[in-house]
Symmetry: C2
Subunit: 556 residues, 2 copies
């Protein structure tokens, strides 16, 4: 069987100018990056302002399991299927980070016959957006330490600098560091740390900004830390937001590529789904809505994290109305939620399915709370039994939700026609009465309680003393009127990764509260969040190579 | 008077496809990065292998002074002038680093009416080469710390890791750091430091490699440090050179842009001129020689450092034959070498010129030792007097060297016709009998002594005990048969920046010896070398901005 990179390298790509034409974009609307990638000018948004938006489809999933659900693959495959059906559809995805590529994961841009290409470029530097974010982030960091070194007029408390440096790399040695060693000419000593670039607040800002001016203002609003009196210090006080925005002048433009079936795919932005909101950029999504009839996009992790943030944070700032939500599951993953061990996941087991399906049930219930139509996509495996499939269809049927089998990994768009039929039927005939779940004007505790009770099914929320103090501080400085971004384990509806299915009677414990004031959300941490991964014993990088003539191996 | 960015923004740029056509490059030979930048495929080298090389002109200078010499400006202006004269010429320059742009310098890509454009892009992320180098460098660093964390089979001595992390930023706080804090899951504690990206050995490798395979082999040869027995540890022992080369798959391709007068300019690579060799890439230079009749290139700092390394290191590895060397000087700079204070440099002063001209005289003598024809270019200022100009012409005449006045800053190519006439006369009628100054097979001390005596005019060379020990170590491990890269102050022919003109009777003190085994040279440090600059009190970044609509200000 061919692996992803082999399939990708056999793709018959069309020149990007031709892909752009499918979206009615002229050569003047784009900036080519080689023959198969381009950036789309922001002018396109303005030029098409009068046009009606297309419909927005969000692909999300049950709580992820080691079995794998294939959310990105379904997203790409659904886009391919819709185009096959003669619909004018475009896919809007997140950009992958370089760190995981060299760590465990290898490349990632869908899978099988539902991939975006050129996968080598998308997985490596792509059009440089990650690097621009890294530069803008680290310019601010350099400006902070330089300000302190040059006299510290703002009286920044070097013990309370919350803004960290970033690198697009898996590098555990940089998690906790001491900077400024070496005496007077090298600055003041302090503790610091690097995060991976996708965890940068700059990335979240890029994805929530509505344009260049908004981006710059958000950069200026970043709280970089506190002064010796305990008041927040903002990036704009360092007069650096102009240069930061300048570094982002190209990164702010959405990138256009294609799928294996030459469906246009806009790939732009990719914030972490724990300490950030985990969706592609608002600018890219809005542009896609102007350029096509149907936009298929995805959010990170399961629906309790990714979709909740997509709906409560991204749609709020972007004033977006999702028209349909697809929840992806696999038999294997549902059986995992039903308590089946990894080695037995391929054995048909309707009883385990009956136990595990509560996870899917809860995610369906959650999406319905936002008043958006839902459909379930079962990402097919050869081992799925007729009885299992029947059971799921019947179960969802009772909830008034349709189920489609998706076979896009093996068959591309052809394998997504069943899902495409249901989705288009919903888009053509059902109304979305989308509403967010809470007002950002509420008190922080109320916002968190709403998410915990309504989405996670928790009994209540417990705060550590530190978290309580942090909430009081944010209220004092009027930094509390923002939506909440939950940093919780993705593996469970609760904050305990071991509780599968649909946990009951649990409390959510909030250990820490931070503000990403530039991005525009309050982060509630319920556990340790990994913001700088490490490399495994044998990194994926060790198998990668580029041969004489340019053939790439090991990137899959 | 207009500043550089204003002039650049008024440029009438031609589409990059049209510029490529001037070099007989088809659309298939290039990869566009927007409308005004492209990368040139490496296949072009092979396709043109049968073609005769064009002539190679190196632009260098006297020892730099605070008065400024304008070497890059003359390089660009000469290229423009040659095209105006109907010659098929191309310019080959180094890529600027992002760090200094935000520090003191602002943007830099020539000056006045002799600039390369689009200057904003060239000065910011350009086509991402710097970021690719940063990534490849830091992947190796992450692999080193990961190897130690995962059991340290190679027994790497964490006290003797010589390969540092890099960032393309002026950030003094990162000069000396401690990494790996936080206990077991975060790796082993050790001292480390960041250099600016242009100081990375990866940058030097990019610029000295003859192709992708050579690049990868050089990556593998990097000495990352020593093991607990004191033996060198190579990057290839970490099996990471394939992934590093993969990260460089686009960075290895030369970039094409244009001058204000639409002359093709190839800009590729930009290593430090102290701990590295300070020239653009061999691949770019070779490609330029295949694509045009005359290639005008430059080297860092003055002729004693930049030209010496260009000739002894770059030409050695690239098997290049320079046909003409242009030495740039200004009246102001020569008077500075003659002892005139900064405030009085604009006052005509032939007596001071007579004293200071010995610096130019020595640089001319040095180039002649390589058996390459020389011409002097006086970069004109309004305050230059007729007597001063007469004196210089007469002085150089006695040495058998012609002098041209260059006014390219104010007049573009038109102001470089006099220089162009002399250069083309040399190229058409004089022979270059180029030879390097020493054999790389010599002992390290002999190679250094040759450079010190022949080029600097030193009495001898003194070694610290540390340097002696390091030489013995390199000899022991057979790492000594490489050309030498001197890291010396650029302001003096000696290793004392205060000694202007042509110092006499001095010794050069070598404090430290390092090996850049991947790049292929031994670095001899004669003083402290700044490998990570800091930001000034008011960084240039504070004045930079991008306005709504995209207009860029403050980048000059």
């Amino acid at each position: 069987m061919k692996n992803d990179i082999q399939i990708a390298q056999e793709a018959k790509m069309e020149h990007i100018v031709k892909i752009a034409k499918k979206l009615n974009l002229s050569e003047d609307d784009i900036e080519q990056y080689g023959k198969y990638k381009c950036k789309i000018s922001l002018d396109v948004l303005e030029k098409n302002a009068h046009k009606k938006d297309g419909k927005l489809v969000l692909v999300t999933a049950i709580n992820p399991t080691p079995a794998g659900e294939g959310k990105s693959t379904v997203t790409v495959g659904l886009g391919q299927a819709l185009c096959k059906m003669g619909r004018n559809a475009v896919i809007a995805l997140r950009e992958p980070s370089l760190g995981p590529v060299f760590g465990i994961k290898g490349g990632a841009a869908g899978g099988g016959y539902a991939q975006v290409v050129p996968m080598e470029d998308i997985n490596l530097h792509f059009t440089g957006d990650m690097h621009a974010i890294t530069s803008a982030n680290n310019l601010l960091s350099a400006a902070i330490d330089n300000h302190i070194h040059q006299g510290n007029v703002l009286r920044i408390d070097s013990r309370r600098i919350t803004f960290k440096r970033v690198m697009d790399m898996n590098d555990r040695a940089l998690r906790n560091i001491v900077v400024g060693m070496g005496g007077k000419i090298n600055g003041f000593l302090r503790e610091d740390g690097f995060m991976i670039t996708v965890a940068s607040e700059i990335m979240a800002i890029l994805c929530l900004a509505n344009g260049l001016e908004d981006l710059k203002e958000r950069m200026g609003r970043i709280v970089i830390g506190y002064d010796l009196d305990g008041s927040p210090v903002y990036a704009k006080q360092l007069e650096i937001q102009g240069a930061m925005a300048l570094l982002m002048k190209d990164a702010i433009k959405p990138n256009l590529v294609q799928t294996l079936e030459n469906t246009p795919a806009i790939i732009h932005g990719g914030p972490f789904a724990n300490i950030a909101h985990g969706c592609n950029s608002i600018i890219a999504t809005k542009m896609a809505l102007k350029l096509s009839d149907i936009v298929v996009t995805e959010a990170g992790f399961g629906a309790d994290l990714g979709a909740e943030k997509f709906l409560n944070i991204k749609c709020r700032y972007g004033e977006l109305t999702p028209n349909c939500v697809v929840i992806v599951a696999t038999m294997r993953a549902l059986k995992h939620h039903g308590g089946v061990k990894k080695d037995n996941l391929n054995i048909p087991n309707v009883e385990a399915l009956k136990i595990g399906i509560v996870n899917l049930e809860k995610q369906i219930e959650n999406i319905k709370k936002f008043n958006v139509p839902v459909v379930v996509a079962i990402n097919k495996f050869l081992t799925d039994s007729v009885d299992e499939i029947e059971f799921i269809k019947e179960f969802c049927g009772k909830l008034g939700v349709r189920v489609a089998l998706s076979d896009v990994w093996a068959k591309g768009g052809e394998g997504g026609l069943e899902l495409g039929d249901i989705v288009t039927d919903i888009l053509d005939n059902e109304e979305s009465n989308f509403t967010t779940l809470y007002s950002e004007k509420e008190k922080i505790e109320n916002k968190i309680l709403t998410i915990a009770k309504e989405i996670y099914g928790a009994k209540g929320v417990v705060y550590t003393p530190a978290a309580k103090k942090q909430i009081a501080e944010l209220e004092k400085f009027n930094l509390d009127k923002l939506p909440v971004c939950m940093a919780k384990t993705q593996y469970s509806l609760s904050d305990n990764p071991a509780l599968l299915g649909k946990p009951q009677g649990f409390d959510i414990t909030v250990k820490e509260i931070r503000v990403s004031n530039g991005a525009g959300f309050i982060v509630a941490l319920t556990g340790d969040v990994m913001i700088m991964p490490g490399l495994p014993k044998v990194p994926a990088a060790n198998k990668m190579d580029i041969l004489d003539g340019g053939k790439i191996v090991g990137l899959f």
